[in-house]
């Protein structure tokens, strides 16, 4: 009887599937999982795409200032993420609101100071909301480093692809994508605020 119980317990253990916060891919190491994090969290993805679109509409100097702000925000925000894991819901909504605001600004060039501030805010939000579900501090640090690099690369690639491409139809394309992001963020931020009973 005891042997049968042990066999049942073993069978139940074998059937258990891993519990994954963001559906990490098997075989992916901590750094790669961190790099993929901004791609898998839709609110981060939208915020970073909006930042990339905005970056692509600027001249070289303001664009570099915005990237500097983003880097500074990530450097401050990523270490803070370890302390802010319980604020995930509020941070997600903040990311959506930031993505909404940023995507509405993609229509033209903006002052350098404002761009730096937007970059800083985006980096902070993405960084603080990227707490990895890992235990050893080495794994956490590696994953956060990957997240920082992934976020920075995403903005650089999208912005770089658009820099200097200011033809009429290209600007319309950017505005359309910006409007789609803004519309989706507005809807979901409303749903989340409604669920929390704030509105």
């Amino acid at each position: 009887m005891t042997l049968r119980n042990a066999a049942c317990a073993l069978a139940a253990l074998l059937f258990a599937t891993p519990c994954l916060a963001h559906g990490a891919f098997p075989g992916v190491n901590d750094f790669q999982a961190g790099m993929l994090h901004p791609l898998l969290v839709t609110a981060h993805l939208l915020l970073l795409i909006a930042c990339g679109l905005l970056l692509g509409q600027q001249h070289r100097g303001p664009a570099q200032a915005m990237l500097g702000g983003l880097l500074a925000g990530l450097l401050v925000g990523l270490p803070l993420s370890v302390l802010a894991a319980s604020w995930s819901k509020a941070l997600s909504i903040a990311c959506l609101v930031a993505a909404l605001g940023t995507s509405l600004l993609v229509t033209s060039a903006r002052p350098t100071r404002r761009l730096t501030l937007i970059g800083l805010l985006a980096g902070l939000l993405v960084g603080i909301d990227s707490a990895p579900a890992r235990d050893p501090w080495q794994a956490v640090a590696t994953s956060l480093a990957g997240t920082g690099l992934g976020a920075l690369l995403m903005v650089c690639v999208i912005g770089g692809a658009l820099l200097g491409r200011h033809r009429h139809w290209q600007r319309i394309g950017v505005r359309i994508v910006g409007a789609w992001i803004a519309a989706a963020c507005l809807l979901v931020a409303s749903v989340e605020l409604r669920r929390l009973g704030i509105i």
């Binding site: 559906g23 359309i176 409007a179 507005l186 409303s190 749903v191 989340e192």
Partner: protein
């Protein structure tokens, strides 16, 4: 080594429990929400025809309407969606959706070219109705963000498809075909309107 007969059902049950679901096109989480949202305007014929009609009419109106509509429509639709999420019912929303196909189809078939603000007002009013209908379904959706992203992108893509078809107006035969398309949309809209009433 043979298994006693009384233990065979237990073993069979264990094997059955161990098997996973067979999925030809596995979708979960983000993909599921996005796919459901993306298909929502495409599978709803009333939404689909109205969105294509917006694009067709935009092509008829030319610049700047042709580039303004795909930008403003999703934003106004989102405002309608927020109203739907917050709860206040929009009276006659289904009638508004049906009427959008009739009115926009009629604008295309008659090649009406009003001032931009009149066109924007008309399209904006219909965008509110469509957005409200989407918004009331959003809180129950799995993965609200990817769902809304899916239906916003699908809506925009339908506009772009309508604009692409509408560009045929530059050829005489194309103009006839586009206006015939508008007539079909208006006729379908009358059907939706009768059903809604």
């Amino acid at each position: 080594m043979s298994l006693p007969a009384q233990r065979r059902p237990g073993l069979a049950l264990l094997v059955l429990l161990a098997s996973g679901a067979a999925l030809a096109h596995q979708q979960s989480g983000l993909a599921n929400g996005f796919a459901t949202g993306f298909l929502h305007p495409i599978l709803g014929l009333d939404h689909l025809l109205a969105m294509v009609a917006v694009g067709l009419w935009g092509a008829f109106l030319g610049q700047p309407a042709i580039s303004l509509l795909p930008v403003t429509f999703p934003l106004v639709m989102a405002v309608g969606g927020v109203v739907g999420i917050l709860g206040p019912p929009l009276p006659g929303v289904e009638i508004g959706i049906a009427a959008s196909a009739v009115a926009l189809g009629a604008m295309v078939v008659l090649a009406v070219r009003p001032p931009l603000w009149v066109a924007a007002l008309l399209v904006g009013a219909f965008a509110l109705c469509h957005g409200h209908a989407h918004g009331t379904e959003l809180p129950e959706a799995t993965g609200a963000l990817t769902y809304s992203l899916g239906f916003v992108i699908a809506t925009g893509t339908l506009h772009l498809a309508g604009i692409a078809l509408g560009l045929l107006v530059h050829w005489p035969v194309g103009a006839v075909a586009v206006r015939a398309g508008g007539a079909l949309i208006a006729a379908a809209g009358i059907g939706f309107l009768i059903r809604a009433l």
